[in-house]
């Protein structure tokens, strides 16, 4: 495959025809399950930064759609229909605290190039930039139908984690630092491969900070001033402290945050 240019762009309505083709190619197991034009327009309208498309030499190779929800509203189990507000995306809340993945795919032609990782990396960066506490979504487990008669969904996930069973979707999420939180029963209607089970996967934004109430923030880059003190006989406490002040003055002159003196100096 000869590739000249891979680019990540915000999704626009003019991409729709191409996007539709890509969706149909990608979701072969669920024909007809592609987003209609009004859905995509609605998403772009509500949250343009959350909708991105990956183009390879101008052709749509993949896409990631997201909204922001309030984590308190979806604490327990929920279905895809509920999280999307029956596909209206009225659940999108610009003041929410959780980036929720609506859809992500790579067309069959461009699989195996780890392009999905680029879409996930974008979501992580967006999550950090918007100071949201994490990313969540219901991950499908498309190989579950092969084991459904022998294993519960929970056992199945355990075996995927311990690499006894290969599940391409779940494996991908796990290697992108997402962790399973709970099992969602009846998540996506018509997802026979997953027996309508999904795994709620989350990624935590370690930089998330609750809205500041205090003007003093904790420093991130800390300057340490170490004092390798020369032992000398001092006649008085004043003389000793004069030397100590000299060093404090020196390290604070370099705007150090800490001065460290030795034991029994």
């Amino acid at each position: 495959m000869n590739i000249n240019k891979i680019e990540l762009r915000f999704l626009t309505t003019s991409d729709y025809e191409q996007l539709k083709e890509a969706m149909i190619e990608s979701y072969t197991s669920m024909p007809g399950a592609y987003w209609k034009r009004e859905h995509i327009e609605n998403l772009i309208d509500r949250f343009p930064e959350g909708q991105v498309v990956l183009k390879v030499d101008g052709k749509v190779a993949g896409c990631a759609l997201s909204i922001i929800v309030n984590s308190d509203d979806f604490e327990g189990s929920h279905s895809y229909k509920q999280i999307t507000g029956n596909y209206t995306f009225e659940t999108h809340d610009p003041n929410g605290d959780l980036l929720y993945g609506i859809d992500v795919f790579i067309t069959p032609e461009f699989r195996g190039l780890r392009l999905g990782r680029r879409l996930y990396d974008y979501r992580k960066e967006l999550c950090e930039k918007l100071n949201l506490k994490g990313i969540a979504f219901g991950g499908r487990i498309p190989n579950y139908h092969k084991y459904a008669d022998q294993l519960s969904a929970k056992e199945y996930i355990g075996k995927v984690r311990s690499k006894e069973i290969h599940d391409p979707v779940l494996n991908f999420q796990l290697s992108n630092d997402f962790h399973p939180v709970r099992i969602l029963k009846g998540y996506l209607e018509g997802d026979a491969a997953s027996e309508e089970y999904a795994v709620l996967l989350e990624w935590d934004n370690i930089y998330y900070e609750k809205k500041q109430v205090n003007p003093v923030a904790t420093k991130k880059v800390v300057r340490l001033g170490l004092i390798q003190w020369q032992m000398r006989p001092y006649k008085s406490l004043d003389e000793l402290m004069q030397q100590a002040e000299y060093f404090v003055d020196a390290v604070s002159g370099y705007r150090s945050d800490f001065a460290l003196f030795p034991e029994f100096f």
């Binding site: 800390v222 001033g225 004092i227 406490l237 001065a259 034991e263 100096f265």
Partner: protein, 259 residues
């Protein structure tokens, strides 16, 4: 201070302890006037006849915290009659959570583990070692502390010789800042180090976000991957009264030994 050189070591260190309060107050003043948090190393403290080795964290906002050396070396017990302290805790600063372990304490991994469970970002180790052997013990142990607890460790020691001062006559030090050894840090875990045995200062920046990244996404995750179903390190509450008695007996016996 030379005034005490004619005394026995045990008497001299108790004489020095009389200055500790004054030194603390002056350091606190310096921390405010120079806008810097000062870890004052350590000094002798005499309270109710019990001699301990303590130090102060003088915050630039005026607050003063005290830390104590927990473990006493055989030499400190024998020559000075020093007793070990009891409190192991981290301190909140305007630059994250920090811990201070004085010298020998850094050679007991349980202490830094307890501190790291409290969320310590930076461990400070003021030390005093007489020879390169003693220094190597502190150095290698503190480098291990940085890796196993996924934190920064800053160590600072004294250098130079003091003729006529018993039990403090020689020192060896190479102060340094150690890091974990993942990709975001120096591959050998040494962020910076001073020239050995020369008076100097070392100014080093450490990025606390890298520590947070390491906790969650590091190549190895020593804190997360602990098998707490098999072992655990927990602080035991000391029985205050019993301990005091032990301290006093120890003190008495070592004073007798000195004479």
């Amino acid at each position: 201070m030379a005034d005490f050189n004619h005394l026995t070591e045990a008497e001299a260190i108790r004489g020095l302890a009389a200055y500790t309060d004054e030194i603390k107050n002056r350091f606190s003043h310096l921390s405010i006037s120079h806008n810097i948090n000062i870890i004052t190393g350590s000094m002798p403290c005499l309270e109710d006849g019990v001699l301990t080795n303590v130090g102060f964290l003088c915050h630039r906002n005026g607050k003063v915290d005290m830390y104590e050396k927990i473990h006493v070396t055989p030499d400190e017990a024998k020559v000075w009659g020093l007793s070990g302290g009891k409190s192991v805790r981290t301190f909140d600063t305007d630059c994250g959570k920090i811990g201070v372990l004085v010298c020998y304490d850094s050679e007991f991994p349980e202490l830094s583990r307890i501190l790291s469970d409290q969320g310590m970002d930076i461990l400070f180790v003021p030390f005093l070692t007489d020879t390169q052997n003693g220094y190597s013990r502190v150095r290698h142990c503190t480098m291990a502390r940085a890796i196993e607890n996924e934190c920064y460790v800053a160590i600072a020691g004294s250098v130079g010789n003091l003729p006529l001062v018993h039990n403090m006559d020689i020192q060896y030090a190479q102060s340094a800042v150690f890091t974990p050894c993942d990709f975001a840090f120096p591959s050998n875990g040494i962020k910076a180090e001073a020239t050995p045995n020369t008076e100097m200062i070392l100014v080093v920046d450490v990025d606390l976000d890298l520590i947070r990244e390491l906790h969650n996404f590091g190549s190895v995750r020593n804190l997360k991957d602990r098998r707490r179903d098999l072992y655990d390190v927990v602080a035991v509450k000391p029985k205050i009264d019993d301990d005091k008695q032990v301290h006093q007996t120890k003190l008495a016996s070592s004073l007798i030994a000195d004479k």
